[in-house]
């Protein structure tokens, strides 16, 4: 099967017009000695029915969606209203490119404008961009943006920032004049405030932390923000579980200068890690340093409202090596899905979803910690994730759960050696009471 639309007659007429006798001749500019003299070693073409059988067989080698899963840690399962899948699969949204020609791209542009507005409303920031790749690269971009803003070199990153986000920041900053130092966590799972006080000095460009943090704990943003500002540093708040913004106060209202993170929770399934949706908002004074595309409102020659990509003098196609970022293609279709998701849930739906998350996670935590030897590791306040500590001498509970077709929490030992017998569990509105009770029962069995 191929997707070519030329008949043999068409090809002949076109070759005649060009004045060559075969398509082969059109490649005369490629030297013989670097031409491929054989066919590609790839599987033979599959007609559609065979392709679908083949891919369905591949997909069924995964235990999802059959297994019950309690993983979170930067990838969350939330209900996605049918209208999101239905509307976002329209060809008019799926098959255009970046709206370089605004007159024929008003659909995409107005959606970006609405998306930017929603991100501002949720984060409490003045402005937002049209999207970044994911939460990890958004965190890295935020750190680089802070460095451009104040020229200072040192960044303090909470150890409870998602480990992959920290690693990405490390990769992005490694070859630049930016160094990253870690700030540990305290006994209740929040950032170690005393350590932060000690490490903050006049050379610090920014403090970046996550809330709810990787251990599920909600940080005291106001208190930390005041401290950070007292040292003339910028305060970057990362939100990896965007559903929390449905109930927690906007970080921008609590002192954040830049809010960035992962909006996968807004209408994107876990998808084995991507595509996801990086978001970023900031104070309006930072506009010229904000990376990525931005849509703005304007008028056409008849005075009608319209939208365009704007402030492109920050970007690579104009500024080349002096651009604020190298980003070009971003996650537009994911931002579109997030916009549909948020507008469908609306004021009450988003709040209701967030409240059910917090309630169900607390029920699960309470139910699980009734089991002998299982306790919550940290006493801090949490949203929909929490860390449980299991008895040291017991076999790995997750292995037992697996046999019962349940994927338990994320074992934290690989990321935090000090949390060897701990696991991070996530419970959202999709988990029915029955499922939570089943998990508790199986954990109890597994520990016996």
């Amino acid at each position: 099967m191929s997707y070519i639309s030329l008949s043999d007659k068409d090809k002949k007429e076109m070759l005649d017009k060009i004045g060559v006798s075969s398509p082969e001749e059109l490649f005369c500019c490629i030297p013989e000695d670097i031409r491929l003299k054989r066919g590609l070693d790839l599987p033979a073409a599959m007609p559609e029915p065979e392709l679908l059988r083949h891919l369905e067989a591949l997909a069924s080698k995964n235990v999802y969606p059959k297994y019950l899963s309690f993983l979170g840690a930067g990838s969350y399962v939330h209900f996605i209203p049918t209208v999101v899948d239905y509307l976002s699969s329209r060809g008019e949204f799926v098959t255009p490119y970046t709206p370089y020609q605004p007159e024929v791209s008003q659909g995409t542009l107005q959606v970006i404008f609405e998306y930017q507005t929603l991100i501002c409303q949720l984060t409490g920031m003045d402005i937002a961009n049209a999207s970044l790749y994911d939460g990890a690269s958004a965190a890295a971009e935020a750190v680089l943006m802070a460095h451009r803003l104040n020229g200072k070199a040192k960044v303090l990153a909470a150890r409870t920032l998602h480990p992959q986000y920290r690693q990405t920041i490390g990769t992005y900053t490694k070859n630049l004049a930016v160094t990253v130092e870690e700030v540990g966590f305290g006994e209740n799972g929040e950032i170690n405030f005393e350590q932060l006080v000690k490490k903050l000095d006049k050379d610090v460009s920014a403090v970046i932390l996550q809330s709810p943090n990787f251990l599920g704990i909600i940080e005291d943003l106001k208190k930390i923000g005041e401290l950070v500002h007292n040292h003339q540093a910028l305060f970057i708040v990362t939100v990896a579980e965007a559903a929390s913004l449905g109930i927690l106060e906007a970080p921008g209202k609590l002192g954040a200068d830049i809010v960035c993170g992962e909006a996968q929770s807004f209408g994107l399934p876990p998808s084995f890690g991507g595509p996801y949706l990086g978001f970023m908002g900031c104070m309006k004074d930072f506009l010229r340093q904000l990376p990525g595309r931005i849509a703005g409102q304007t008028k056409d020659v008849d005075g009608n409202r319209g939208f365009v990509l704007t402030l492109s003098t920050r970007e690579q196609h104009i500024r080349r090596e002096k651009a604020t970022s190298n980003i070009c293609t971003n996650q537009a279709l994911c931002a579109l899905r997030a916009t549909m998701f948020l507008e469908t849930l609306g004021q009450s739906g988003l709040r209701e979803m967030a409240l059910q998350n917090i309630q169900k996670a607390h029920y699960a935590s309470e139910r699980l910690t009734r089991i002998k030897g299982v306790k919550r590791k940290f006493a801090g306040k949490f949203f929909n994730e929490f860390v449980l500590e299991f008895p040291k001498d017991k076999q790995n509970v997750n292995e037992y759960l697996k046999k019962k077709e349940v994927v338990g929490g994320l074992s934290l030992g690989a990321f935090y050696p000090e949390l060897k017998n701990c696991a991070l569990l996530c419970v959202t509105e999709v988990h029915q009471k029955e499922a939570i009770d089943r998990l508790a029962l199986l954990v109890e069995e597994g520990l016996r």
């Binding site: 191929s2 605004p102 990769t171 927690l248 690579q316 070009c328």
Partner: protein
């Protein structure tokens, strides 16, 4: 024409389009205690489901797209996006997989990734691929980081990256983000790299040459082996921007021509949809010397099982979370499997045929700065029309009236008033002819009635927009008008 309001303008208190089942666990009253919770989100939308559906359906109708018609946006490879690939990417086994699931529970996903890596190695002639980068620009950055890590280990990361003046803007930007100074290399009269200028600038301070091939003019850098030699003799690396791989599939493998690192855009050559600006995917392929530095994790086949290898002491780390834009990779895999080896070769053959047909059909009406043979795209300019005061933007906007998406205009910078046309292989002769006829009519209009071009487009959802004011007085979100 009815203009769709912003959702915030039709929002009204108490309307809803969504509800959850009643909470089925005992509610705890104190869960919010001690937290800074919010009551409501000021001005957040409140609409009904039918309002949501009509809002987005109407907005969709204000977009032009590949499913509607010809979209010759040069360098972007706007080919048809097969619908079966969308179905593949929506299989629940893929979409519901959690990225932190133990590897024995997601063998299907790991097989998808590993096989796609292997297929890309075969198509590009490289030794290994990483699928982690989210888009072409992130692929460029990753590729340059690999080069830097290798040079560092050899004792000197070097200072400069050479980039031809015809390159896409992401190249210099990515090199800069990797800590390098950019030195531009001139193009010669044929539109390819000036070998003398390259040799002069290729010192032992240079880490790499970033070469797009075929370049943004659609011209194949036929000296590529010599170019590679000049770079390699001085201990540098040859990076290839594979954005234009659509011209080469099954015909020529960059890895066989001396390329050390390449990124490929799955949303271009491998037909994953552009989505209004992403998500894309920018896999990076390397030769053996650079394999140790690839991002973690690496996917490995051990016997019949697939595994993730995080234990890679020389790795650059990671450039994003998890394993890249996985569902984009699923689509690309479906595409490769549908086409097979012959179909993959046919991509390049027909893309080049279509492009040359357009070039030949319009070379009297429109100026071609370079007369070198071109492959999958050709770059005209507005030089002839300029005599009547018509610029490339006027031609582009008039094309909209004829029902065609305009070509690329913002680069290459070495062609003033560029109109970069890339038809791709999926277009019918009828659609190509519609475009050619429209371009001919526009060339005629430019002489006889330039005003109709200057005021175009005339029939679009909005007409020409004031981009200057948008940048000078930025309005970047909706806000409720304050009562005075």
């Amino acid at each position: 024409m009815i203009r769709e309001p912003l959702i915030f303008e039709i929002s009204d208190k108490g309307k809803r389009a969504f509800g959850l089942p009643k909470l089925d666990v005992p509610a705890q009253n104190d869960v919010l205690e001690g937290l800074v919770a919010r009551e409501d989100i000021p001005d957040f939308p409140q609409v009904s489901e039918v309002e949501v559906v009509r809002h987005f359906t109407r907005l969709s109708q204000a977009n032009y797209c590949v499913d509607i018609g010809f979209y010759p946006l040069g360098s972007c490879t706007m080919k048809y996006n097969p619908k079966v690939n969308e179905k593949a990417a929506s299989l629940p086994g893929f979409t519901s997989s959690h990225p932190f699931a133990p590897e024995d529970l997601v063998q299907g996903n790991l097989e998808v990734l590993k096989r796609m890596e292997d297929y890309l190695c075969e198509i590009a002639g490289m030794d290994a691929f990483t699928l982690q980068p989210s888009a072409g620009a992130q692929g460029e950055l990753t590729g340059m980081m690999l080069i830097r890590a290798c040079l560092e280990e050899r004792g000197n990361p070097r200072k400069i990256v050479l980039i031809p003046d015809s390159a896409h803007g992401t190249n210099p930007s990515s090199a800069h983000l990797c800590g390098y100074r950019v030195q531009e290399i001139k193009s010669n009269q044929g539109g390819t790299v000036d070998l003398e200028d390259l040799a002069r600038n290729m010192t032992e301070d240079v880490a790499a040459l970033m070469l797009t091939n075929p370049n943004t003019l659609g011209v194949f850098e036929w000296d590529i082996k010599k170019i590679a030699e000049i770079v390699h003799v001085k201990g540098g690396f040859l990076y290839m921007d594979g954005a234009n791989m659509n011209a080469l599939t099954g015909i020529c493998r960059p890895g066989d021509a001396g390329v050390d690192v390449i990124h490929i855009n799955l949303h271009k050559t491998f037909s994953t949809p552009h989505g209004g600006g992403g998500p894309g995917s920018g896999p990076v392929g390397v030769k053996k010397a650079l394999v140790p530095y690839l991002p973690v994790p690496l996917i490995e086949k051990r016997g019949e099982r697939y595994a993730l290898n995080f234990d890679r002491p020389k790795t650059i780390g990671r450039v994003r979370s998890f394993y890249g834009n996985f569902l984009v990779v699923v689509r690309a895999l479906a595409y490769v499997l549908t086409l097979g080896p012959e179909g993959i070769k046919e991509i390049a053959e027909v893309a080049v045929l279509n492009s040359n047909y357009i070039r030949k059909s319009l070379d009297k009406e429109y100026h071609l700065k370079y007369d070198s043979p071109t492959l999958h795209e050709c770059v005209f300019s507005d030089k002839i029309q300029k005599e009547n005061g018509i610029l490339n933007i006027d031609i582009a906007k008039r094309l909209i009236d004829y029902g065609v998406h305009p070509p690329t205009m913002s680069f290459p910078l070495i062609v003033h008033g560029a109109l970069m046309v890339e038809p791709t292989e999926t277009e019918s002769k009828r659609d190509l002819d519609l475009f050619i006829d429209a371009m001919k009519k526009i060339a005629q209009e430019a002489k006889e009635n330039p005003e109709i071009l200057k005021s175009a487009p005339h029939h679009s959802y909005v007409r020409r927009l004031d981009e200057t004011t948008a940048a000078r007085n930025p309005v970047l979100k909706w806000e409720r008008e304050k009562k005075s």
